[in-house]
C-alpha cells in the first residue's frame, strides 16, 4: 500500500517538474493490490529515482515560548507608546524622531509576524470533522457527505481552541436533527445522501465559519410553540416575531425542537451555551433556515484575542475603555430620536422607538459626575449572551486598538472589568466587561430584547423610515450629510499628510494612502485636518470636513440634484437644507482603478434603508451600476420589494420577499427571499448575462 503512495508521490513530483511521465511499470503495484497478494518488496521504484521533494523548512516550538514572545512584543508596543509620548514632550530632534520612526516600524512589523506565528490554519479544527460525521451518521443510519472548504484560513491558536466545542456541537446538531434519514430524504424528493458543508473565510478582521446542511431545517413555528409552552415567550410577543427572531429562539436556554432525546443531542442544552461561548470571545452566531431546505449557521469570530479595538469614554476625569465589538451604536441623550424616562427609579431609554434599560456609568461606578443626564452620551451595548442596554457616559473619546492584559484578581473580582491596558499617554485604562456592567447596574439581560422589538414593530408605521445620516460642515462651510453606513471612522491628520500625488489629492493615514475628496481646488491646508474615512468594503476614500454637526435621521424627501455629481440631492435635515453626498459617485470618482467596460445598470429604491445599506453593496459587488428612481437612465434590471410598484421602464425585474417561504398569500412565485444571497446572486448574474 505504502509503495502505491510512494509511486503516486513520485508521479506528482515528475508532473510538477514538467517532465514527461516515465513509462514506469505500475503493474507490479497493481498486482500487489490484488487480494491475497501480500508480500515481497516491490522493485518498481529504484531508490535513485526519488526526487527529494522540497519540504518547507519548519521547526517545532513550544506554545509557551510563543506566548512569552507575544507578551514581550506587547510590552514592546506599550514601551514604544510611552517613548513616543516622552519624545513628543521633549523638543524634537529630527534625527531622534527618524530613528524612533524606524523603530516603530520594525516593532509593528514584528508584532504582525509574531501574531502570525500564533495563527493556525482552521484546517486543524476541520480535520476531525469528517471522522466525527462518519461515526455519527453511521450510528444514526444516515448518509452524510461532508464538504470542507477554506481550511487554509488562519486563526489565532487560542481562538481555534475556543470554537472547537461550539463547532462540534453545531455539527452534531446538523447531523442529528438537520439531515433526515435516507428514506425521508427520498420521500421529500432529495438525494438520499445529505450534504453538510463546513467552510471558513476571512472578512476584514473577522473569520466567518459557515455550517450548512440541506436537511429538514428548523421549524420556527414549533420553536415558538415550545417557547410559549416553557414560558420563555408570551403569546403576544410571539405574534409579532419576525421569522429570523423565531429561529433565534434556538439560542434560548432549554428549548429544543427534537421530538425525542437522542444520545447525541436534543436535550435542550447546547445552543445557548454555543452562543455564550462564541460571544465570550467577541464573536456572534447567526442562524438562517428554510423549512425542508436546510439550515445555515454562521459563526463570526475575531482574528485574535489580545488586541482589542475599543472605544474610550470618560466619567468626570477618569477614562475607561469599552470593547467595540459590544457596541451597537452611540447616540446623544438629547438627540431628537431619544427619550429618557425614569420608571420606578430605573432608567429607560427609548431610541428610535426601541426601548431598553439605561444605566448611568457614574452611578454604577459610584463616581462623581457633574453632568446632567440629558447631556450625556448613550452607548448602546450588546454584551455577550445578553441583550441591548444603554450606558450613559459623560464623554466619548477615541477609537483605539488596545493591547489588553488581564487585571489582578482583586480588580477582576468586581466583575466589571475585562482587563487593563495602557493608553497612548501611558496611563492605565480599565477595559469594561459589558455583561458585568449590566449585571452590576441591575439590568436583567435576556428576554427583554423581544419586548424592545415589540415597541419597535408597533412604532414603525407611525415613524417614517429614517435613514441615519451624519450631518457635517464641509471645508467650504456648506451643510452636508453622508449616509452613516459608508463612514468608517473619523480621522485627524496633520496638514502635511495631504499631498497632490499621482493625479489627485491623497492623504496618508497610518500605513495607507487614500484618495481625498471634499476639497476644492487650491485649498491650502494648515494645522490639523479632519476627515471621514469612507469605506465601501473594498476601497477607502477620505473626505475632508470642517466639523461634525450631528447624527440625524433623514426623513424628509430628497430633492435630487440637477445633474449627477458628488451631491445627490438636497434635503431638509434638522430643519435646514443640507446636501446629501452621493457616496457612490465619490467612490467612482476617487477610488482607484476600478474602471472597465460599461456596467449593467440596476435600479434600486432610494428611500429604503434596507435596500441602500444591505442590498446595494451586493448589487454593486456583482458589477452593477446602481441608480435610483430619480435617475433618467434605462435600467437593465430593477430590484423591487414585494408590495412595491411595478417599474415603468423595460428590463428585467427581480422581486424580493420578506418571508423565507414563498407560499404565503399574496407573494409571487418567482420572488426571492431577501436574505437568500445565493439565489439573489444567481438572479443578478442571469440578468447581467441576458443583456
Amino acid at each position: 500500500m505504502l509503495a502505491v503512495i510512494d509511486r503516486i508521490g513520485e508521479m506528482v513530483a515528475t508532473i510538477d517538474a514538467g517532465e514527461e511521465l516515465p513509462a514506469g511499470d505500475d503493474s507490479a503495484l497493481i498486482a500487489a493490490l490484488q487480494p491475497g497478494a501480500e508480500g515481497p518488496a516491490l522493485p518498481a521504484v529504484a531508490a535513485g529515482d526519488i526526487k527529494s521533494t522540497a519540504a518547507p523548512r519548519t521547526i517545532r516550538l513550544s506554545v509557551e515560548l510563543l506566548d512569552r514572545v507575544m507578551s514581550g512584543v506587547s510590552d514592546m508596543v506599550l514601551a514604544r507608546n510611552e517613548l513616543a509620548r516622552r519624545l513628543r514632550e521633549s523638543t524634537g530632534d529630527v534625527a531622534v524622531d527618524g530613528a524612533f520612526e524606524r523603530l516603530s516600524g520594525i516593532i509593528a512589523e514584528m508584532r504582525d509576524a509574531i501574531t502570525r506565528t500564533r495563527m493556525q490554519r482552521v484546517e486543524n479544527l476541520f480535520v476531525a470533522i469528517p471522522r466525527m460525521v462518519r461515526d455519527l451518521s453511521a450510528d444514526l443510519g444516515k448518509q452524510v457527505l461532508v464538504d470542507i472548504g477554506g481550511g487554509d484560513v488562519e486563526l489565532d491558536r487560542e481562538m481555534i481552541e475556543m470554537i472547537r466545542d461550539p463547532l462540534t456541537h453545531i455539527i452534531r446538531n446538523a447531523v442529528d436533527h438537520g439531515i433526515e434519514s435516507p428514506a425521508d430524504r427520498i420521500k421529500s424528493g432529495k438525494r438520499e445522501i445529505g450534504i453538510l458543508s463546513v467552510s471558513a473565510r476571512q472578512s476584514g478582521n473577522q473569520i466567518l465559519i459557515d455550517i450548512v446542511d440541506d436537511g429538514r431545517g428548523i421549524d420556527g413555528k414549533r420553536l415558538v410553540e415550545k417557547a410559549i409552552a416553557t414560558g420563555t415567550l408570551s403569546t403576544a410577543d410571539a405574534a409579532v416575531m419576525a421569522p429570523r427572531e423565531r429561529l433565534a429562539l434556538i439560542f434560548e436556554a432549554g428549548l429544543s425542537t427534537a421530538r425525542e432525546v437522542t444520545a447525541i443531542s436534543g436535550r435542550g442544552v447546547g445552543m445557548d451555551v454555543v452562543r455564550s461561548n462564541i460571544e465570550r470571545i467577541g464573536g456572534t452566531v447567526e442562524v438562517d433556515s428554510t423549512l425542508d431546505q436546510g439550515t445555515r449557521m454562521t459563526l463570526r469570530v475575531p482574528l485574535t484575542l489580545t488586541i482589542i479595538p475599543a472605544l474610550t469614554v470618560s466619567i468626570g476625569s477618569q477614562h475607561f475603555a469599552i470593547p467595540r465589538t459590544a457596541i451597537e451604536e452611540i447616540v446623544r441623550a438629547n438627540g431628537g430620536s431619544v427619550t429618557l424616562d425614569r420608571i420606578g427609579g430605573a432608567g429607560v431609554a427609548t431610541i428610535r422607538g426601541r426601548r431598553m434599560p439605561e444605566i448611568a456609568l457614574a452611578d454604577v461606578l459610584g463616581l462623581e459626575s457633574a453632568m446632567a443626564d440629558e447631556e450625556r452620551t448613550l452607548v448602546v451595548l450588546r454584551p455577550a449572551g445578553g441583550d441591548v442596554y444603554a450606558l450613559a457616559v459623560d464623554r466619548i473619546h477615541d477609537h483605539e486598538e488596545l493591547v489588553v492584559k488581564p487585571a489582578a484578581p482583586a480588580v477582576m473580582a468586581t466583575g466589571l472589568y475585562a482587563g487593563t491596558t495602557l493608553a497612548d499617554d501611558g496611563s492605565p485604562i480599565l477595559l469594561f466587561d459589558p455583561g458585568g456592567l449590566a449585571e452590576q447596574g441591575g439590568v436583567r439581560l435576556e428576554a427583554q430584547e423581544r419586548a424592545a422589538r415589540v415597541v419597535e414593530a408597533l412604532g414603525q408605521p407611525a415613524k417614517a423610515r429614517e435613514l441615519p445620516v451624519l450631518l457635517f460642515r464641509g471645508l467650504d462651510g456648506g451643510r452636508r450629510a453622508l449616509r452613516l453606513g459608508v463612514v468608517d471612522r473619523i480621522e485627524e491628520v496633520p496638514a502635511d499628510a495631504i499631498r497632490f500625488a499621482a493625479g489627485q489629492l491623497r492623504v496618508q493615514l497610518g500605513d495607507s494612502i487614500l484618495p481625498l475628496a471634499g476639497v476644492e481646488e487650491g485649498t491650502v491646508f494648515e494645522g490639523k485636518v479632519r476627515l471621514f474615512r469612507l469605506s465601501d468594503g473594498v476601497s477607502e476614500v477620505g473626505y475632508a470636513f470642517n466639523e461634525v454637526i450631528d447624527l440625524m435621521g433623514l426623513t424628509e424627501s430628497l430633492i435630487p440634484a440637477a445633474r449627477p455629481g458628488a451631491v445627490s440631492g438636497v434635503a431638509l435635515i434638522g430643519g435646514e437644507p443640507a446636501e446629501l453626498l452621493d457616496a457612490h459617485w465619490i467612490f467612482a470618482e476617487h477610488a482607484s482603478g476600478r474602471a472597465g467596460g460599461k456596467p449593467s445598470i440596476c435600479r434600486l429604491a432610494a428611500d429604503d434603508p434596507w435596500v441602500q445599506n444591505l442590498l446595494r453593496p451586493i448589487v454593486e459587488a456583482a458589477g452593477y451600476l446602481v441608480i435610483d428612481e430619480t435617475t433618467e437612465l434605462a435600467a437593465d434590471l430593477t430590484i423591487a420589494l414585494e408590495g412595491g410598484t411595478e417599474p415603468s421602464d423595460g428590463g428585467r425585474t427581480i422581486w424580493l420577499r420578506t418571508e423565507p417561504e414563498a407560499a404565503a398569500a399574496g407573494t409571487r412565485k418567482d420572488s426571492i427571499y431577501r436574505y437568500d444571497r445565493e439565489g439573489l446572486l444567481k438572479a443578478l448574474k442571469a440578468a447581467g448575462a441576458s443583456r
Binding site: L78, E82, V364, L365, A408, A410, T421, L430
Partner: protein, 149 residues
C-alpha cells in the same frame, strides 16, 4: 544564611518583607482609581509600560487608609509579582535592606487583628526582632478576610 529583608513602615510599625519577593521600589505618581474594587485596592499605576495594581497595605490590614501626600503625587511603593500580576504595595516609608539572622519563628504574643492575618512570624535582625509580613496576604486582603469569616 543570606536572607535579605526589606524593612518598611506600615501604619507606624516597622515590618519586614522578604526581599526575594520584591522587584523594585518605585515612586508612584498618577494613580487611576478602580471603582467598585475591594477597598484595599488603591488603584492602578503604570510602571515602564506595565500596569501595576496598587495595594494600600494599611487598608489591607484594616488599620486605616494610607495618607496620601497633599498634592496627590510621589508615594513610595514596593513592586512585587504574584501569579503573573504586578502589584505595588503602598507603604509609609521604605527604610532599608537588612540581613535576617535566622528563620522566622512563630510569635507567641498576641498581635493586632490585622497583623495576625499577614504574619509569617518573627525574624531576628541586627536591628532587633521584626515581624515578617506575607506579601500574598497583603494583596489578598479582602478575600482572605472573606475566607476566614
Amino acid at each position: 544564611m543570606n536572607n535579605l529583608l526589606l524593612i518598611v513602615m506600615i501604619a507606624g510599625s516597622r515590618v519586614a518583607l522578604p526581599a526575594s519577593a520584591v522587584e523594585s521600589v518605585v515612586e508612584l505618581d498618577t494613580l487611576i482609581q478602580v471603582p467598585r474594587a475591594a477597598p484595599h485596592v488603591a488603584g492602578l499605576s503604570a510602571l515602564r509600560s506595565r500596569v501595576l495594581t496598587v495595594i494600600d497595605c494599611k487598608r489591607s490590614l484594616d488599620l486605616g487608609t494610607t495618607a496620601r501626600s497633599a498634592d496627590g503625587s510621589i508615594q513610595e511603593g514596593v513592586v512585587v509579582e504574584l501569579d503573573g500580576h504586578h502589584y505595588a504595595l503602598l507603604v509609609d516609608v521604605v527604610e532599608d535592606v537588612v540581613e535576617a539572622l535566622g528563620s522566622p519563628t512563630p510569635l507567641r504574643a498576641a498581635m493586632g487583628q490585622g497583623w495576625e492575618r499577614a504574619s509569617l512570624g518573627m525574624v531576628e535582625t541586627e536591628g532587633g526582632p521584626m515581624l515578617l509580613v506575607d506579601v500574598a496576604a497583603l494583596i489578598g486582603g479582602h478575600e482572605q478576610r472573606a475566607n476566614a469569616a
